[in-house]
């Protein structure tokens, strides 16, 4: 009996030394993994990209709901009546008069202040000026602080309207009705003693600049290129804000804009409550952005491309996909660029959850009456808040007015791509470290990198130091590029050529390692891939859209980047990659200009990120191609 036990043990462990057996198992596993690696990579890539494509499909997403119980949206009876609408109309007449005699922003602000003072709300104006590359940007804000009865003045809600509508990103369309709404709303809200927070009304000048000046001064944040008068009226902490944008004569739908600077989103509870109120209290259909769904409005052109076969066009799923895709693409376009989709976006920087309600211009049926009711009810909802909106509801993808995706359902797509890149990088690293030809090098020189693991392979030194220094150099180059752009002196084509050529020239200085050691290109590519994957997977938490864009632009290209024996091929590859890295300089100068403006005025990180992170990474791939 006892003699049986060792036998069993032998059967279990396999004969011989248990350690040896364990190591053999491990090696076998490692070999399997190694053999499988290419397939794993391919699988990860395909799944990741397919997931990205599948996000708009109708299978994903869930209904929106209110998480914070205190909000109680739409539970109040609204008293906004036709008298108030008439008052709004009268204000509108004044504003139109001002517009016709094209009044200066000073006169407009003074008019607004006068209106507020007339109803007993202290109001002031604020002059400001930004100096940017394109010159000085001046304006005047008007703001009023209504001290609520029995409120300690430690909390406040902001109701704002910018003089320019967000139509065409502030292309000059006036937001007259928005301003009229805010002023008449102030007159109306003054009548009630139920406000637990102060109400701050802001009529900001321009499109984004005015509010940026006001909110920055309110929070005492320093901005070197901003000269703004200090605010002489103050209130407390702002938790929530709502921005009114009503450019047209009347409106059919209420569009909700929520993307903020640097990809920050407001708490979803806020926009869910407002859209709920709009639908139930105001009886107004709600849209994400201003995308009218072609299915419930017959005479709008279909958003599906014409070349699609009828069968697909009429397919409900395809249509749903198209509608959602349009919302998501618009959203990603804002978020990836870190741009604000409206005035509300500037407030996010100060931990204020804000949205813009956009009255989509149409020939009816809605006007001041329904908008007023919606705003009153929304403000009552915000007024209910006992705490800052804090449910972890900041990471979401709003695919439709009533449908959203949780972070868990879209994040993996990008993470998978990142992981694939990581594996490729590790694979390259192993490749660089092992060879059969060369004799084992002597340890001691720190360029010789470490034996990766338990295998009987001959290893060769890896030129780590050169690779790392090349990467550092490219990122420094990125910093230079950024300053060159900021100075705005050098034309972009020159910059493009300069920064495309410079790396190759600099590369000649680096001594390429001697034959026994691995080719520099391999190590460089390995590090490049690892770093890029780290950047992508970490960005994805902060700003999913940006990460997705990076995954698309860097995922495959960086992975397939490889040196080739023939010189001309290398040159062509290098050219292609440098276009990928710097092409935006010449291909979309307008975007570049806007990005720089956003950086200067709104401190949006997109421009520096591209210059200092994206471009260098791709340049490294280009160098990896150009190296022998």
């Amino acid at each position: 009996m006892l003699r049986a036990i060792p036998a069993i043990r032998r059967r279990l462990r396999g004969g011989g030394d248990p350690n040896a057996a364990r190591i053999r198992r491990r090696q076998a596993l490692a070999n399997k993994a190694w053999q499988g690696l290419p397939y794993i990579r391919i699988v990860l890539f395909t799944v990741g990209y397919l997931w990205l494509l599948a996000i708009p499909s109708s299978q994903f997403g869930q209904r929106t709901y209110i998480d914070e119980n205190a909000l109680q949206p739409g539970q109040v009876h609204t008293y906004w009546s036709w008298n108030d609408v008439h008052r709004a109309d009268r204000v509108l007449e004044d504003l139109e008069r001002l517009r016709d005699q094209n009044a200066t922003s000073n006169e407009i602000a003074n008019y607004a202040v006068g209106e507020f003072e007339k109803i007993g709300i202290p109001a002031r104006i604020q002059h400001y000026s930004f100096d940017t590359v394109d010159g000085v940007l001046e304006g005047t804000n008007a703001y009023a602080v209504m001290q609520s009865p029995r409120a300690s003045g430690a909390e406040a809600i902001v109701i704002s309207a910018s003089w320019l509508s967000r139509t065409g990103e502030g292309d000059g369309t006036l937001n007259l009705r928005g301003v009229a709404t805010v002023i008449s709303l102030a007159q109306y809200l003054k009548k009630y003693s139920l406000w637990a927070k102060d109400l701050v009304f802001v009529i900001s000048d321009g499109y984004l600049d005015g509010m940026q000046a006001w909110i920055t001064t309110y929070h005492g944040a320093a901005q070197p290129n901003l000269h703004a008068e200090p605010l002489t009226l103050s209130s407390g902490v702002i938790w929530t804000a709502i921005n009114v944008d009503y450019p047209g004569h009347s409106f059919s739908h209420l569009g909700i804009f929520f993307e903020g600077l640097n990809g920050r989103l407001p708490n979803q509870d806020l926009l869910n409550s407002v859209s709920l109120i709009a639908r139930h209290t105001g009886g107004v259909p709600v849209l994400v952005h201003d995308h009218v769904d072609p299915r419930d409005t017959p005479n709008t052109p279909s958003i599906l491309p014409a070349w699609l076969p009828e069968a697909l066009k009429s397919n409900a799923d395809v249509q749903e996909y198209a509608v959602r895709a349009r919302n998501i693409v618009r959203h990603m376009n804002y978020q990836a660029r870190g741009a604000a989709s409206g005035v509300h976006g500037l407030l996010h920087r100060f931990r204020i959850d804000a949205i813009t309600v956009f009255a989509v211009p149409a020939t009816g049926p809605h006007g001041f009456h329904s908008l007023g009711k919606i705003l009153e009810s929304s403000l009552r909802t915000m007024n209910n808040l006992l705490e800052r909106l804090h449910a972890s509801f900041f990471f979401f993808l709003l695919v439709g007015p009533g449908t959203f995706m949780k972070i868990g359902s879209y994040l993996p797509s990008v993470i998978l791509v990142g992981t694939a890149m990581l594996f490729s990088g590790l694979g390259e690293w192993v490749n660089a470290g092992w060879t059969l030809a060369s004799p084992p090098p002597l340890g001691g020189d720190e360029k010789t990198e470490k034996a990766s693991a338990h295998t009987s392979w001959v290893q060769r030194p890896r030129p780590v130091l050169q690779a790392v220094s090349i990467m550092a150099a490219t990122h420094l180059l990125g910093v230079l590029l950024f300053y060159a752009l900021n100075s705005g002196l050098v034309p972009s084509t020159v910059i493009f050529l300069l920064f495309a050529i410079l790396p190759v020239l600099a590369l000649q200085l680096v001594s390429s390692p001697a034959p026994p050691s691995a080719p520099l290109a391999t190590v460089l590519k390995a590090f490049n891939l690892c770093f890029a994957s780290a950047v992508i997977s970490i960005t994805s938490v902060l700003n999913f859209s940006l990460a997705a864009a990076l995954a698309v632009f860097m995922g495959l290209p960086l992975t397939v980047a490889s040196s080739s024996p023939s010189q001309p091929k290398r040159v062509v590859k290098y050219a292609l990659y440098s276009v990928l890295a710097l092409g935006w300089l010449v291909l979309c100068p307008e975007e570049t200009r806007k990005a720089i403006w956003n950086w200067e005025v709104l401190e949006v990180w997109f421009a520096p990120f591209i210059c200092i992170v994206y471009t260098p990474l791709v340049l490294q791939a280009a160098l990896a191609c150009s190296l022998p």
Partner: protein, 554 residues
């Protein structure tokens, strides 16, 4: 029927009290009404009961039994507390709202800080220390007024003796008196505080001026606050003053936006009958000085320099004072940017920056007088906000003027136990604005220390300014130029949001951290203790084979 019986009861009361009370106790009540320039109406009720020839209890006698107390008018519940904890002077205020000094001027009752404020002068003693009695006192008052004064613990208690001088006189006991002061800005005032307050009045709210205290209207006011003030007046006695102060907005109540008011329109009541035990009972109305003509009904008993006085007597018909501005059809609000502020100083105190780790405290003080003003500046800050005193900077229209600030005393805060106390003197140049900025850090609390609504943040007590020297009064000790005692100004309170941990995580955190530590600990000792051996894994041949495979992968 009920009314009648009530009436009888109080009549009996009168006869009884007229005999006993009048001798040793006095009760006076008055109501002061002041129309404000922004159409609002300030009303101040004051009910004072004087206990003649009484002296506060000497804390040294706390061990021995107290002599018997017989009160008829004097609120018994309060009296017992005062005796029990040997309190010489006591001030408790419960306010809601932000007092707008610029538009409303100085209040009749200086204590207008938002929330609850309690300060008391008590004699030190051996048997029971001041701090023990302070704790007992605030708990007793919390019970009496249904307010959460129990939270005024040592984390909020300071002793700013420079700012809160006794309003009465301090008897000289064996040991000197000490001040205890604490504020609870997040305390909300409502009916549950008013009811016990009314119970302390001899006539409750049945008759006399107190009958105007109608909760439905009082708690719809723009600002309201109740106060309890106990002081000892040398050779006179112990005086208890119960006050209620409110700011009403007649314009808001009226349909056609007029500022006309009457007792009935404001309080929805009128004074039906006088309080029989009151020695004096007056309604004072400050007559507006504005150009627009007004009328006031009924005819006042007397008008002394712009103040109309009505004596509430036992006359049968109800008193309903009313004031009208016949020429105005709607009220024209004055332009706040042009109208001069009604106080010497205008103060704004805000917390800049939205980072949850640090912020900047800014204090903007405008001197509205053409002469230099010297003011005391008091911060009693819980450790929830910690000052970096070395970053304290003063600017007058852009020019650095650190010489205008002189710090008298500073007690740094101790986390989890003690608040900071900063007493300084600011010199304000004539009609100019002083910007005071200071960096502050927000501490990180244990998850057990957070409030239930942790994400709201914490209300921070108001700062107090005491402008005490006007004109060329350079050295801070010059008495007030205007002869009256210096008046306190309370800044608005602030809300600070502290970073919160995840309250659902304790177990997860303990598990994860411990796992990581155990993992590393285990591996380290694995490496250190186990011995190294060289084992033959496999013949080189299959390594070769693996090698070829690997080559093919390239």
């Amino acid at each position: 029927m009920r009314w009648l019986s009530c009436w009888r009861a109080s009549l009996v009361l009168v006869l009884h009290l007229a005999a006993v009370g009048a001798a040793s106790e006095q009760f006076d009540e008055d109501l002061t009404i002041r129309p404000l320039r922004d159409g609002k109406l300030s009303a101040r009720f004051s009910f004072s009961t004087l206990l003649k020839d009484a002296t506060p209890r000497d804390p040294q006698q706390l061990s021995s039994d107290d002599e018997a107390q017989h009160y008829t008018l004097f609120p018994l519940a309060l009296g017992q507390i005062l005796r029990e904890y040997a309190v010489t002077e006591l001030h408790l205020t419960l306010n809601a709202g932000k007092w707008n000094y610029d538009a409303w001027g100085y209040p009749e009752e200086p204590g207008v800080g938002t929330g609850a404020e309690l300060w008391a002068w008590m004699g030190e003693s051996i048997p029971a220390s001041v701090d023990q009695r302070w704790q007992g006192l605030r708990n007793a008052l919390a019970g009496l007024f249904c307010a959460s004064l129990g939270h005024l613990d040592e984390q909020r208690t300071t002793s700013p003796a420079l700012t809160f001088q006794p309003e009465g006189s301090l008897p000289n006991f064996t040991y000197p008196h000490q001040l205890r002061h604490a504020t609870l800005p997040s305390e909300h005032v409502c009916t549950e505080n008013l009811t016990p307050f009314l119970k302390l009045l001899p006539c409750k709210s049945l008759s006399g001026i107190a009958s105007l205290l109608n909760p439905h209207r009082l708690f719809d006011a723009d600002w309201h606050g109740l106060g309890v003030h106990v002081r000892y007046r040398e050779d006179v006695g112990v005086e208890v003053r119960l006050t209620f102060q409110a700011i009403f907005d007649p314009v808001r109540y009226s349909q056609e936006k007029r500022r006309d008011w009457s007792l009935r329109s404001v309080f929805d009541r009128s004074i039906e009958r006088a309080c029989p035990v009151a020695r004096s009972s007056k309604v004072r109305v400050e007559l507006p000085r504005g150009p627009s003509p007004y009328s006031i009904t009924p005819d006042p008993t007397a008008i002394i320099d712009g103040v109309a006085t009505y004596v509430v007597d036992a006359s049968e018909e109800a008193l309903d004072v009313a004031m009208r501005w016949p020429t105005e059809d709607t009220f024209e609000y004055p332009n706040t940017s042009e109208a001069p502020p009604l106080t010497e100083l205008s103060v704004r105190r805000t917390l800049k920056g939205t980072n949850q780790a640090e912020a900047q405290l800014t204090l903007v003080i405008t001197n509205n007088l053409p002469v230099q003003v010297t003011t005391g500046y008091l911060e009693t800050m819980p450790w929830l906000l910690q000052f970096y005193l070395h970053t304290l900077r003063a600017h007058v229209n852009g020019v650095a003027r650190d010489d205008l600030v002189s710090i008298l005393s500073y007690t740094p805060p101790v986390p989890h136990s003690r608040p900071a106390l900063l007493q300084a003197v600011l010199t304000l140049p004539p009609s100019s604005t002083l910007h005071l900025t200071m960096d502050v850090v927000k501490p990180f609390l244990r998850y057990t220390e957070h409030q239930p609504d942790a994400q709201r943040g914490w209300d921070l007590p108001p700062a107090v300014l005491v402008p005490f020297a006007f004109g060329e009064g350079q050295n801070g000790t010059v008495a007030a130029a205007h002869g009256r005692r210096p008046r306190r100004m309370y800044t608005p309170i602030m809300l600070v949001d502290l970073a919160t941990p995840d309250f659902s995580m304790p177990y997860n955190v303990i598990i994860m951290s411990c796992t990581l530590i155990a993992l590393i600990f285990g591996s380290v000792f694995n490496l250190l203790t186990r011995k190294f051996v060289v084992v033959r894994v496999s013949p080189a041949s299959d390594a070769q084979a693996a090698a070829e495979q690997r080559q093919q992968q390239r």
